[in-house]
Symmetry: D2
Subunit: 451 residues, 4 copies
């Protein structure tokens, strides 16, 4: 009977209206059941963009919507592979459509282990969303495991191995996770759509037209070079203009300090947190289980911050209010190895105004490598993007594209020093001289030695 | 000094990137300060569409983003009025640009009193978001009041009176609140954009081109009739296809029963709620203040539902899970005054399966009047839409448009009976006969007497 | 061997980038050959919108692009029918995919007989584009015939019979030609896209999701009612706002008078036309063959008008210049059976200024029936749109939709009297009194008896 | 009185619906009159993209629509400059709104001298569209001159001097003509929109937000660097993927050979051309006047090609048919200075089949410099793009952007050898061996020495 569940198609395909892909088409009962699983529905309560929606107010979409999108792109790739490059036509490089279901499940579930404000949260509580993704898929008590296991014995592990990249079929692995995969393609398009920026736009239809399987993974026919190049540039632009926006990072810094401060305060006065923030306690105690993790989401954290606003500890209360009411720290660029002494001077001025610089200043660096060719000795090497000539020869992308070459291997982003907005005050008041002195350290948005 | 705050323009206009209007332009310091007020930032945590995002997963945008949009449309109308129809040019029907700031503030703040899941919440706790809007604007302790009061004495009351429609200048009132106003125009376009449906699309640019002030409010030049007609049809389509979607209402019904059940349970065991849901207690006790209200948002409610999942009371726990994990009740159309006896039969079958029909069934009606002409004797009469001929004569819209006439005065929507999904089960099991009997009452999606 | 041509698929599908449908996918060698046939390429030189591009400057697209679009929608319908409603699944109402090629060819070729400015041209020269379409498909000397005939004997006639609606399979006929067919759906979307108006936008994806075959043609599942309704309203809006635009009709009137005048002048002085306009002569002589027709296009006509600008006959020259340089006649609404005497008065004033009213005035009426149910006794009855209930019952659309009911059977459009722009002159000059008198006949854009 | 014409604003602004900019707003009577001038209306009959519409069938828009777009972007820039950077606020770097009308006129008219298929036509007939633009503007008999001269004495010359870049105010000059000007911005967006490609899309709104005047022209605030970078990449992509498309160039090659051949044939038998192609004769005779030039357009040329199809000279007839019926030559990449001997071998094979290689083969090179910094010694130096720091310091774009650096100063494009499609034939026939030998010279789309 289980074999039948694996192949069970819906009598009529079910469609989810999606603003990015127009329609998301579900044909398998398995996929519909996974979408309805509670661990997947939970993604509705976790924003895709974290603090970036404080800068781009349209970007309030959730990981739920992104996960459906990754599924849909993967489904479309499978359709094209099956239609044009099936293993029947090409036994060496072709696509085996028996791999479709594992690919679709992995695509849908690849982010299911994300928690609230993952980036910041994980740094503080030493959790890891990829590990949680694997755990959710392979822990017998989750609804997701139970659905996958009905497909066939060992199927949950198979899906998990795609996510950990250990699955033997690299076509499946690279569809979900490589430098140009369904995940990245969906989030660029989706984040661009919802924020209203246009930098993330590239021609998905054209990329789907030039993508093809080969025996070691996926590649792109050489005449699609410019479309792939355009995708790499879009990715770079989204990082520079949206993901690394200084104001969002000014909010991230506050969240970071807030959670760290709460962790410390918990050691002194656990009562308060046990009473007001029960679902966070296992994390403050470093004793969390998967089950604890599945109860957390943006909503739970934010509702705790709301309670903390009324805490007698002024710092906890102030940071909570700053986060909920969007009061970001301000920032200025600096250069490591050169500007640190100046930062120390600036901090002294900030302390004079009465701020604890451990709480109200921060260093934040945001860097991305838009594309990299394969470096066998690198700590984490990336699958390079290959272009295929008519005769089957493969050429690594940056060898063909001067644009990609300009971005490849070069890290982009910046280092910023964050401080209270008050320091930029212009108007007359008691601290006027201190403010003016502070501002002498800033020229053209960068830290500079005052004259 | 206060006069200067009123007219204080930003040195360079501040822009918020918006996917619907492209840019939202802020020129006044007052407006920027209002946006940064904590009562306004709170709107980020309240979804515009409530339970509709359970059906249209893209529709996760907040009232924050909608409020900026209403502001922006109002700003554009003011610009056009000032450029083409100023009171200097036309002392009788013209626009006095001194009204701009009050219009912009009212537009921005018109929804500031909305709470979580307003529709359902208000019905149960007898709160009223319009009254809260007025309270937030006029209560001296809010940041919003303090900002508005810096403009000039009595300014908060002025802004509030626009929202209550008592402001003497009806041009301002109708911009914000009439059958074709900045509020409706923004939400139709915005909800269409985020959900990915196209029904809400109409030509805003063209409408802004044909709108004009006159001494009793706003009207539209007669050559813009089809553009206005198109807006009315878009509005009708959004109601029929998005706002009244049966699945969203199936979730609303669950929320409604969940909150009602919690209210009842609170009377028996207040301890649990005091411990897990402190910010809701004032509402359960019917003793809430404005300050209590400002602490509530979608996130707080959802985090309480998360706690309730573990409550020993099975009904509270089950309803909470159904809501968080999106398990809507199913539904069928019926006709009042005809199908009630059949519904009673159906309920008996549901009871046989073991469901408490007071909890697990519901009647839900959704009706809208897409457009209405003025009816002096109606309980709540609407400002009718007027078309202006070249010579200044006004004609009421439905007199000119057969499409609008078809919609005017006629209520659209439907009545549905909601019940547990299980009742539609097809497969063999113990209750098979009951299910089959139940299903005999449904034909072509409507309740029908079984043969 | 011919059977093989019929089924010959391209090794890789060929794609035409299209702004409306994104990609147009060609899989059959037959279709690719038809597109490359010279009679089809000729459609590149015939504008889809005729004189409407004088009003909406973006609407310069050709019948070539529209024809590809009709093909693409038909292809998508075939795909959906084959996937969900094949004759194998449903022998009574299902779709037989053997019909695909004839449907695709008919879709692609349905407009191949269009000539330059068809509407006007046909009225004057008594040609008929539908007859020419049939002739092009079935005349042995055309490339199109030769391609189709390679498919199988009689195939050209089969394709032609779809266009004349005599093909036995009504599913195929209604796909191409009914009140909601691939032709109409493409032109509404395409004309809206290129002109930049939004009135023609409806949700094609959703319509393709609810369309289904049945034994007498095609219908729509009842839950798609609002999508179909929205399409009908879009169609109505495009007619009212784009196709019937008074300015375009003011250019059409000039074209009409120019061609009529040339026809008359030809009788007097054929030499001039034989020398400057050889390809038009067969039409002026009423002796044209299919081969003559295939040499005509917008470019040929316009280049002749360019020559006529220098003709000594002032009227021919003036009308030619007015057409090429876009100098439309102005217009005013009137009511038949009431305003004719007033029009006579107005004409007398126009004659006084020195205009020949036979040349420089015109009556133009534009009317459309946005939707009609079946009327067996009507001169040209229309296939009505049917909605299908879950149990297979069919309901005619206007029975379900009050919007459609408002439009059904009611003719929309207007009657206008066209005259020289000069008559609206305001400034002082010799004829001032006549102008002023003339203008007294116009009030609120309509002809009115002067006081 | 003339001064009044200069400042004469329309009572209500006139709007042209545009799919790219939504609305094109005309406020000055002068601009409306220029649009209605016959020399401007003529642009409706000249395609913006020339032969590229043979590859991208949506790209059928005219230079008329592009010219309106350039006007509109310029108008928007003037509005922003006037609002934020007026000379009243900043006497050194500010914008003087007295320059608005000359800027708007130059923007609207910058392409008015374009003729049919300019690129090819000019090469053969030694005409120059920029010179014609100046002539049309400054020749007393044109309608355009007469309108401009009504503004004030010498105004036509002023407008012309903007186009020749000799106008003293470099802000005006650079708006219309620099490496990032209204002309380029419009054509990238417009060509992308109509062809349906997305490569040309960049964020115009954002660029308009960071553009500002300074005393030597226009520059961009430094925080807009990525938006400008994105524009440069879009430009590069459009060149690579649309403007340099090998198939369009295969049509251009045919047009080139056709016109050259006609020129030659004219010397032998002028009668034929005098009879069939009178408006082209002055060009064939190299005796053309401005007045002759103004009678030419795409339509005239195409109608002549239609006549030439029936010419007894087989080459003239064949090339005409190939052009009208879209039968492009095929092509392969080659490298100058290396592959010429191989091309000679290939030509010999082509001759063996019976083709005259002077007619049926061609070398075509397409190269573009996407961006260049200032090179004082270059033959035609370009105005470099400057970024302005907060303190007013200017930095040349490629110093800041590694992406732009990768494109700057490097020429992109390719060299292709064109030949008859027949040479790629695969199927069996008489010439099979020759075809096979020919194909040995092609490997992975490039010319290669056969093994």
């Amino acid at each position: 009977m289980e074999i039948s569940y694996k192949h069970q198609l819906l009598p009529i395909e079910k469609v989810f209206k999606d603003p990015v892909h127009n329609d998301i088409q579900v044909q398998h009962q398995v996929i519909l059941d996974l979408i309805n699983a509670k661990e997947f529905q939970r993604l509705r309560r976790i924003k895709q963009l974290g603090t970036a929606s404080f800068t781009f107010h349209g970007g309030e979409h959730s990981r739920f919507s992104h996960s459906l999108g990754v599924y849909e792109i993967t489904r479309q790739i499978c359709d094209i592979f099956e239609r044009n490059f099936s293993i029947e036509k090409d036994p060496i490089d072709g696509w085996n459509d028996e791999e479709r279901l594992v690919a679709l499940c992995a695509a849908l579930l690849h982010d299911v282990g994300h928690g609230p404000y993952s980036h910041t949260f994980e740094a503080i509580f030493s959790t890891n969303h990829e590990q949680f993704t694997v755990d959710i898929i392979t822990s017998p008590f989750t609804e997701i495991y139970q659905i996958l296991n009905k497909v066939e014995d060992g199927f949950p592990q198979k899906v998990a191995s795609v996510i950990t990249k250990q699955y033997p079929n690299q076509q499946v692995v690279q569809m979900i996770s490589s430098q140009i995969d369904a995940d990245r393609m969906d989030y660029l398009l989706r984040d661009a759509y919802f924020t209203g920026t246009q930098y993330g736009t590239f021609d998905l239809t054209r990329i789907l037209r030039v993508i093809r399987p080969y025996n070691k993974g996926i590649c792109f026919t050489t005449n699609g070079m410019h479309a792939v190049e355009d995708y790499i540039v879009s990715r770079y632009q989204m990082y520079m203009q949206v993901y690394f926006h200084p104001v969002s990072r000014g909010m991230e810094v506050i969240l970071d300090h807030l959670l760290k401060y709460a962790e410390q305060l918990f050691k002194e006065s656990p009562d308060f947190f046990e009473r007001t923030s029960p679902l966070l306690v296992p994390f403050l105690e470093k004793s969390e289980t998967l089950s604890d993790y599945l109860k957390l989401d943006d909503h739970v954290l934010n509702s705790y911050f709301m309670m903390w606003c009324d805490h007698p500890d002024e710092t906890l209360s102030d940071l909570s209010k700053r986060f909920l009411n969007r009061k970001p720290l301000k920032s200025v660029k600096f250069v490591t190895g050169k500007d640190e002494p100046l930062i120390e001077d600036m901090k002294q001025l900030i302390e004079k105004i009465g701020y604890d610089t451990a709480i109200y200043t921060a260093i934040n660096t945001s860097f991305d490598l838009p594309y990299d060719f394969y470096r066998p000795n690198a700590v984490s090497s990336r699958t390079q993007i290959e272009l295929m000539e008519y005769d089957g020869t493969l050429i690594e992308l940056s060898k063909q594209s001067s644009l990609v070459r300009a971005l490849a291997g070069e890290i982009h982003g910046d280092e910023r020093f964050y401080f209270p907005k008050e320091m930029l005050t212009q108007s007359d008041n008691l601290f006027n001289d201190i403010y003016r002195m502070f501002q002498c350290y800033i020229h053209n948005g960068k830290i500079t030695k005052p004259n």
